[in-house]
């Protein structure tokens, strides 16, 4: 079984204001990086649209409709200071959620060993009924909930190494003992959540905040001492990765100092857990990462690890 790469050109049509860091060129940079010879064995497929009732596993239908209705015929409409929609945004958001759900089907159907979904808009800041932080629908949360419902798994884990805390995912799974949400992130930084003491209703929320200026050593220590032991003990049957690459030292929106090798290392460690308890099932979803060079190299290192362990 090979690693699956899921994308869709519609995700380039979610336009943001001029100069906005979450821009279509992010996907183009990743696509270019994954054109290299060593990625030729990747299975590549276009993301289908998510059904609305699947998105509704995490977001109320009237919220989903409000996003559709906010989408303008032309131009850009702001939903908050960071988040906006253009004519192609609803379609892009359906493909982003749909890619995540399709990836779940492929790994449970044993047609792929694991999958990387390179789509946008990202998802982990989207709360149940609130778009924020560049996010409309929480793709990682939708993937985990879908796996619970469709495949009847008792436990899923969402591991989020984006430099920002995934307040949306934490919020959605706060009182769900079937999904463990684990996150490394910079604190203080947007959105302000993710303190050590935030542990969820059933102690299934695991936060490992890092200090501004921290690098690979502190990141790996957080994984070794906090993230990996808790994830191993939980024994998830599926691992969803919220793969943001903005903890890279080049990223303009944060102050951590990771390099590509740190993302590859983290990926391998997550794969070890997946091999032990989830038959290797990993669905990795692109979140942030705003320096194009760092994003391209880091996502390539991540996918290379998914392919070769």
């Amino acid at each position: 079984m090979s690693t699956l790469l899921i994308t869709h050109p519609a995700c380039l049509d979610h336009l943001t204001p001029h100069g906005h860091p979450e821009r279509p060129d992010r996907l183009r940079a990743i696509e270019r990086a994954l054109e290299a010879e060593k990625f030729q064995t990747l299975a590549r497929v276009q993301a289908p649209r998510a059904e609305l009732d699947v998105i509704a596993l995490c977001h109320p239908l009237d919220y989903i409709e409000s996003i559709r209705e906010a989408t303008p015929g032309e131009g850009i409409v702001h939903l908050d200071a960071d988040t906006s929609v253009s004519a192609g945004s609803f379609e892009a958001a359906l493909r982003a959620a749909g890619g995540a759900v399709f990836a779940v089907d492929e790994v449970f159907g044993k047609r792929a060993a694991n999958a990387f979904v390179a789509t946008r808009p990202p998802g982990h800041h989207a709360e149940t009924a609130r778009a924020m932080g560049f996010c409309l629908f929480d793709n990682a949360a939708i993937a985990a909930r879908y796996a619970q419902k469709r495949y009847g798994i008792a436990r899923a884990a969402v591991i989020d190494f984006d430099v920002h805390h995934g307040n949306g995912s934490q919020d959605i799974f706060w009182a769900d003992d079937g999904v463990m949400y684990l996150s490394t992130h910079q604190m203080p930084l947007y959105p302000g959540t993710g303190a050590l003491g935030e542990t969820g209703e059933y102690d299934t929320v695991v936060n490992a905040p890092l200090r501004p200026g921290d690098g690979g050593e502190a990141f790996r220590a957080a994984f070794e001492t906090r993230i990996l032991p808790r994830m191993r003990d939980f024994a998830p049957e599926l691992i969803v990765i919220s793969a943001g690459f903005d903890a890279h030292m080049r990223d303009p929106l944060a102050n951590l100092n990771l390099v590509e090798a740190d993302f590859a290392w983290a990926t391998q460690k997550i794969m070890d857990v997946a091999d032990r308890c989830a038959e290797g099932r990993i669905v990795s979803l692109l979140e942030g990462g705003y320096d194009l060079e760092a994003l391209a190299k880091s996502s390539a290192a991540h996918v290379n690890a998914l392919m070769h362990g």
Binding site: D82, Y190, P191
Partner: protein, 89 residues
Amino acid sequence: MAQQNIPNNQGDTDIGALSFERAIEELESIVKRLEDGKVPLEESVAIYERGEALKRRCEDLLRQAEARVQKITLDAGGNPTGTEPLDVE
């Protein structure tokens, strides 16, 4: 767009002229905004970095103040005879 409102490195040059009271006041307001999650994602890192610059300004002013504080020296009869640097350690 929002980025135009972000204090940049040039904007930080004013920090060197701030009084301790003004610097600490702005720093406290930044900490509160970051903790409350009221800062947009795009501005979050710039505001944090301004907070760091304000913290450095406060530390510099404290160090300067320490250097100015001197200990009054007394003679055997308990009368002031002069000053010597205060050992702040």
